[in-house]
């Protein structure tokens, strides 16, 4: 090999690496799609495991998203408006579930709300036995997914021009009017993005749910858990549900992409 060709090959290295990376991302998804015939897909989706998991996933992720918005928005607003030591502690707490392995989250949830957990006895006395119930699925989803929404909302709220809020106040607008008439409309892109990411994360939640809520069909077996269970018997529902989840994920990406285009057009108008 002449030094020149050597240098030429060396020059190709980054491009080769980049292609390899892309291939690694694309091939599994490609394999998933080509290995599933339309017949398989229909058959798989009709499988009893699939339907109940789909229903359960829709219910739990919708509920956890609603709770995320309801509880996360005030927290995000407070964090955006009160930078300081307390806010930094809150920010760390919000970041942790994103980084912590889901299995650890599941164990932590058990140790907190499990029958022998920190709050378990108190909850049980109140008639609330959380583990291995649908409610536990929702709690697990909330735990792992809310941080995505909160982080996005905090960042958006921080970018808000404070003078707009003072102008609103000077015009007599109280907190509710300021929030719904000024803050929320101006923060919509970030809030929607955060909600979509958070919902997608909840939909994909597996590890924490498995440990904290178990894998009971119709009660705690969400789509990812159904895929896992189906793999042991019939691969068709697993493949069909996987394709369904990939489609949903793509739809979320399109929604987010479209969201930004809409905002861009509106800003220009």
């Amino acid at each position: 090999m002449s030094p020149r060709t050597g240098a030429g090959l060396l020059g190709l290295l980054p491009a080769t690496a980049a292609l390899l990376m892309l291939a690694l991302l694309a091939v599994p998804l490609f394999a998933l799609v080509v290995s599933t015939s339309p017949g398989d897909l229909l058959e798989g989706l009709r499988h009893p495991l699939a339907l109940s998991a789909l229903r359960l996933s829709l219910f739990t992720t919708t509920t956890s998203l609603a709770l995320t918005l309801l509880l996360g928005t005030p927290l995000a607003w407070w964090m955006a408006r009160h930078p300081g030591p307390a806010e930094r502690v809150a920010a760390t707490l919000v970041q942790l579930p994103i980084v912590v392995p889901p299995a650890v989250s599941g164990l932590a949830l058990l140790l907190a709300f499990g029958r022998r957990g920190l709050l378990g006895p108190a909850l049980e006395q109140a008639g609330w036995a959380l583990p291995f119930t649908t409610a536990a699925v929702i709690v697990a989803e909330l735990f792992v997914s809310a941080p995505f929404y909160i982080q996005s909302a905090v960042a958006t709220f921080r970018r808000l021009d404070e003078d707009l809020l003072w102008a609103a106040r000077s015009l007599g607008a109280g907190p509710a009017r300021r929030f719904f008439r000024v803050v929320l409309p101006l923060s919509r892109p970030g809030v929607v993005t955060g909600a979509a990411l958070s919902w997608a994360r909840a939909l994909g939640e597996f590890g924490a749910t498995l440990m904290f809520a178990g894998n009971l069909q119709g009660r705690t077996q969400t789509l990812p858990l159904a895929i896992y269970s189906a793999m042991e018997t019939d691969l068709r529902p697993a493949k069909a549900l996987s394709i369904l989840l990939v489609t949903v994920a793509l739809a979320v990406l399109v929604l987010l992409g479209r969201g930004t285009v809409v905002e861009a057009v509106r800003a220009r108008a």
């Binding site: 021009d161 707009l164 102008a167 609103a168 106040r169 007599g172």
Partner: protein, 236 residues
């Protein structure tokens, strides 16, 4: 009548002012960093006041000793900041009626908009307006709320020369008729002269002088005031 006594400490800067302003425009002048905008923000309730009192037409808005601190939304003090702070997602009409929801508000907002020539722009958003138009919308929004006092922070600074002339004329026509205390922060002696009201000179966080316009021009109370007065003479 707006009377205030304020001590504000912010990032190592101390503002310690006492002033009173009757109905009509009062010019607030002074070098950069003298604390002019901070005075306005303190009256608005947007900066924490360490010690002081603000009384507007006999109503106490703030009294740190008596622990009175009327929230901004109940002070009825309108504020037009330098960049106007118009709501970018609302139309001109929605901006102007923001402080006066309901049909009655719509009517009074309509009157103000007609007066300022804004009616044709009612369904535009601030992003589609010129600087002069934005200034007018901000003024209309402030006036529609029927405030008891009006605070204008360099209302003409962001405008080009022609628009500035027109807007100045508009302010001169509008402000005295409101008959409410109106503080106008400005860097231009021409604005001060056009407004014709008393002049408060602020330097390094303190009121250096508060005089009638003629006295201010006849014997400028500081080096800054002298340069302000002579610049206007040379400039026109």
């Amino acid at each position: 009548m707006l009377e205030l006594e304020l001590e504000v400490v912010r990032d190592g800067f101390t503002l310690d002012v006492q002033l009173s302003a009757g109905a009509g425009p009062t010019a607030l002048v002074g070098p950069n960093g003298a604390g002019k905008s901070t005075v306005l923000r303190a009256i608005l309730g947007a900066v924490p006041v360490r010690r002081g009192r603000i009384v507007l037409d006999g109503r106490t808005l703030l009294d740190t000793r008596q622990r009175v601190d009327v929230p901004t939304e109940e002070r009825r003090v309108a504020w037009v900041p330098q960049e106007y702070a118009l709501f970018p997602h609302l139309t001109v009409l929605e901006n102007v009626t923001f402080g006066v929801p309901g049909p009655a508000g719509r009517a009074s907002a309509g009157a103000v908009m007609d007066q300022l020539g804004l009616a044709p722009l009612r369904s535009r958003r601030p992003g589609a307006l010129s600087g002069g138009e934005r200034q007018k919308v901000a003024l209309a929004r402030a006036l529609a709320a029927e405030p008891r006092a009006l605070l204008l922070d360099e209302p003409l600074a962001a405008l080009d020369a022609d628009t500035r002339e027109m807007t100045r004329a508009l302010l001169v026509e509008t402000l005295p008729r409101l008959a409410i205390p109106t503080l106008v922060v400005t860097h231009e002696m021409r604005d001060v002269i056009a407004l014709g009201g008393p002049v408060v000179l602020l330097e390094a966080g303190r009121v250096r002088s508060a005089t009638a316009l003629d006295a201010f021009r006849a014997s400028p109370p500081s080096e800054f005031a002298r340069s302000l007065v002579t610049r206007a003479v040379g400039g026109t």
